[in-house]
Point group: C2
Chain length 583, copies 2
């Protein structure tokens, strides 16, 4: 054994013990001729003391930062006044008796310290230095532990982890599949899975009852900060369940996860119909840490002199607004910026009201009648210092704009009422019309079942866009964490839905053949969910970018600066695969 202890565990109880520590030279300083080395490993830091009389003094003095050493010595109490109560090993130091240099180090590209700002490209190129920093180390350890919390919870609820293939068939949303040429079957390709969806449903047909997997999913799409070409999903599926059974399992899992992270969250989670979410918050993933409810005030403006609003009323549109309260003081220029944001997203304009010294000021003051002001004060519950924003448009378009407005207001409010606001958004529409493809498409997942009471609508053309489904999203603080549904377990209904989506028999066979076929052999009712694991960890740790919680992520150009993947490959290799690059 090279070491008797790690650098994070020695304390006064070890006083007098001979120990052997291994780690990295974090720093060293010479204090009145005595050398103090801070030795670092994953678990912490320990101070090593080298007296000038020590035969290793010279070697010790020449140690560079990030050198790897083995230090043997005796644990002793730090002298009075030198203890550091902030770290677990702060009351002791190790009096060096033997020193072995295990490896040297070049000058690191950046210092291994938290406070040093380094651009992300450099951090990723030298990820092995970046991970030595406290925060990245903690993120990865935390991620590892949460994975185990999730697994233990699911195992204790009778789930079995089943590994599904990564080399599989190009399927449903094929366009974003990564392809892998097959050498043994020239001209043919495997595809990397966008999710184990069909396999997990097949496992339910197989009678596996409850399946889960921390599954790697792949999607060849243009990247955003919260996306990667490959990402990890807590993927689960259960037989003989309804929506609530799946929700119960997920809520129990989140309770465990957040307990481990130090938070006691309340279950059951809030629950909202998709329609209600859109109406109330203008988005299917409202951030409910904040109130900021959307109010409809069309009625107040029915006789308004403000032309735009009057037109809205006359054209059967809608006027809605939000009281941003006094959480933030909106200057004129800030309101202009907000207006710009909304306009650039397609809104026609933004009306504001403020109450200052008991008086209402507004961008449309000159059009506002006393009675209208009173009604607005009442409707929005306007108090001293509050700012209210109002938008108008037709009933469909306004949803998006008012959702954006609400998010902008939230961005400026740093005092959420709740730390963690979980929400189930349920009963998404089953189908939506894709004008450009001239066909219906599944809003989320082509395998989602309609609500049983809405099944009859599958036969009514005019009702197709109104079919509510068993599709549910899990939302946390305005972030979509996961998406799932109860699936079609009856073959004839699944086939009917595929046909409504414009697939021919042949296409159904080619794209979904194995699943449709399997449903014909006694598929049980089943449902499940996929929860973004990277995103879950990022949200808990407070990051916008999931790259902060992935050991070796790719940049937004899909490049790994450390390995330099993707790279060119030899002609010989391409020949073996019977493919060539198109000029």
């Amino acid at each position: 054994m090279m070491r008797t202890h790690t650098c994070g565990e020695l304390n006064l109880k070890n006083e007098g013990q001979k120990v052997s520590l291994c780690g990295w030279v974090d720093s060293k300083r010479n204090h009145g001729g005595v050398l103090f080395i801070v030795l670092r490993d994953l678990y912490g830091i320990t101070q090593i003391v080298v007296e000038p009389s020590n035969k290793h003094f010279n070697s010790a003095e020449n140690l560079g930062n990030e050198y790897v050493i083995k230090a043997e010595g005796t644990v002793r109490k730090r002298p009075e006044g030198n203890a550091n109560k902030n770290i677990p090993t702060g009351e002791i130091e190790v009096y060096l008796e033997n020193l072995e240099i295990l490896n040297t180090s070049k000058e690191p590209a950046f210092a291994i310290a938290e406070y040093i700002n380094v651009n992300e490209e450099t951090r990723l190129k030298y990820r092995y230095l970046d991970i030595r920093r406290e925060t990245m180390k903690k993120n990865l350890v935390f991620r590892s532990k949460i994975a185990q919390v999730v697994r233990n919870y699911l195992y204790s609820n009778n789930f079995n982890e089943v590994e599904t293939p990564i080399l599989t068939k190009s399927t449903p949303e094929g366009a974003r599949d990564f392809l892998v040429p097959s050498r043994i079957n020239p001209g043919k390709f495997y595809a990397l899975p966008q999710s184990p969806q069909m396999f997990k449903q097949i496992l339910m047909v197989s009678g596996m009852d409850r399946y889960f997997q921390l599954a790697r999913n792949f999607r060849d799409e243009d990247l955003r900060s919260d996306r990667q070409l490959e990402h990890t999903q807590i993927d689960l599926e259960m037989s003989f369940v309804n929506e609530r059974d799946v929700a119960l399992i997920v809520e129990g899992m989140m309770k465990e996860v957040f307990k481990f992270a130090g938070y006691d969250i309340e279950t059951p989670f809030m629950d909202m119909e998709y329609e209600e979410a859109m109406l109330k918050y203008g988005t299917d993933k409202p951030d409910l840490r904040y109130d900021y409810e959307i109010k409809e005030v069309t009625e107040i403006f029915k006789n308004t002199e403000f032309k735009i609003f009057r037109q809205t009323v006359e054209s059967n549109g809608t006027i809605r607004g939000i009281n941003a309260k006094n959480a933030h003081q909106y200057s004129r220029s800030e309101i202009d910026k907000l207006t710009e944001t909304l306009k650039s997203n397609g809104a026609k304009g933004l009306v504001w009201l403020k109450m200052k010294d008991g008086k209402i000021d507004s961008s449309i003051s000159k059009f506002l009648k006393e009675m209208e002001v009173e009604s607005l004060k009442k409707s929005f519950d306007i108090k001293e210092g509050d700012t209210v924003f109002i938008l108008s448009d037709d009933k469909k378009n306004i949803l998006n704009y008012i959702g954006i407005l609400r998010n902008e207001i939230i961005k400026r409010d740093q005092n959420p009422k709740k730390k963690w606001a979980f929400l189930w958004v349920r009963h998404f529409p089953l189908l939506e019309w894709k004008a450009d493809e001239n066909r219906y498409d599944a809003t989320h997942n082509p395998f989602t079942a309609p609500l049983p009471e809405e099944l009859y609508k599958l036969d009514k053309k005019e009702e197709l866009e109104n079919i509510k489904s068993c599709q549910y999203d899990l939302v946390l603080n305005g972030v979509e964490l996961g998406s799932g549904s109860v699936r079609n377990h009856r073959r004839e209904i699944q086939e009917k839905i595929f046909k409504l989506m414009g697939y021919s028999e042949k296409e159904i066979y080619e794209k979904f053949g194995m699943l449709v076929e399997a449903l014909g052999y006694g598929a049980p009712p089943h449902g499940g969910i996929g929860i973004g694991f990277d995103r879950l960890i990022a949200v808990i740790c407070g990051y916008d970018s999931i790259r902060e919680v992935i050991a070796f992520p790719k940049t937004t150009s899909g490049i790994c600066p450390m390995t330099e993947a993707p790279s060119e490959v030899g002609e010989k290799q391409l020949n073996e695969l019977k493919i060539q690059i198109k000029k």
Copy 2:
């Protein structure tokens, strides 16, 4: 909740309870007008009773096998004499009160029964039916549970699970890499990892201290029964360790795994130098469940009249044999077959001796002198009924032949002395000469360190093939379960080894750049191992083929009969990826 219980849990304690069960109709029979339905799920079977007076009798009578139903009713004790003590639910039955048909089923392609023999192609095509069978179900559940045993053990030993990329760079043994064209970076390719080797070493350089992952590895090779294009590996790496530290962790893990499987295995495992294994057993993965030691008998034949042996002695060759004992009676035709097997592998011939009625009979009887027979009897400890086989060749070639001979003898012996024979084979040669490539290559892994005491040989050209390394294999019952080593943590030594392997500076940079670079920034001494998870499960369950313990394996042609992967893809998709198929 659709069900109150599973089909595996009701017993006399539940007598009188109203229950609701869901599952598949395993079978039904009409016994004197009363209908008995065996309902099956993952957890077991339960008998449902339907009286002729029951309003659901007709529906029940028309249920097909594999229909999915929900049965509500009351638990009652089976009538005297009808109990089945062999199953947990065998003392009760459920008296049907309500029946709901959740799904119908086509006639399955094969019956869901253990004893039905089905060819593998059909099993894989209808894997969802195959997995409903008891054995496959058990295999997958067992695999899932072992995965968790492994993880719990490693977590409790301070390992962190870190996910490494699946889209990475084509590296070392590039020729067998799967390639993935990058759409965002046209003309460039990702590669699927053959193992996370470089990433796990990078994690050690990152200070992660102890890493593990149940990692998916990919290798585009021609398949054998124990190989798949993708397979799962228990991959681990540790910092500040020597060979024995890694062995201790692995032995502890195996102890836990086998305890879960119901076996108490002994640790530490046996331990053998590579050289000794080759000499004693003619293979680097001897099956030590059986004795069958290889004896050198060259000395006995130094004056033989048998020409072939005399030539062997004269040309400084070696004569070795094995006493196959009386574990199996070798007929003449069987010995002929054995001889054929050896000859087809390159051996020159096979000599046999038998003792029957106290007398020695042999294929070379007429050449054997009395004294030689006596010496052979003594050397091989020949007893009544024993058969001895003897081979001769030069000292290098014989290793392979005698290894094959020993395996053939073992195949015919159905009574191993031990159930589980673990073995560490250690100190493989660091380098071997590849005549066809005119260069040295790593015998196992280019990152393996030489034994510290052999380091000096790196500078002696004539010693290069004699350098012993810190490479170890874990062998169980003659199967190589895993392979690992202590790695080169010093950059200059790693570079020296790459150069000995004939790589130029440029090639080193291209192939191993990130790792070599990382070693320069304070890499700690580290080592690890990768253990084939599919193979481990297969060996414990007693299978030769790992396909029996994989949910959705591919055939030996790399095809998935269920999904029909790999498949042709559209011109549009290839265009987007800027590749085309070569005619």
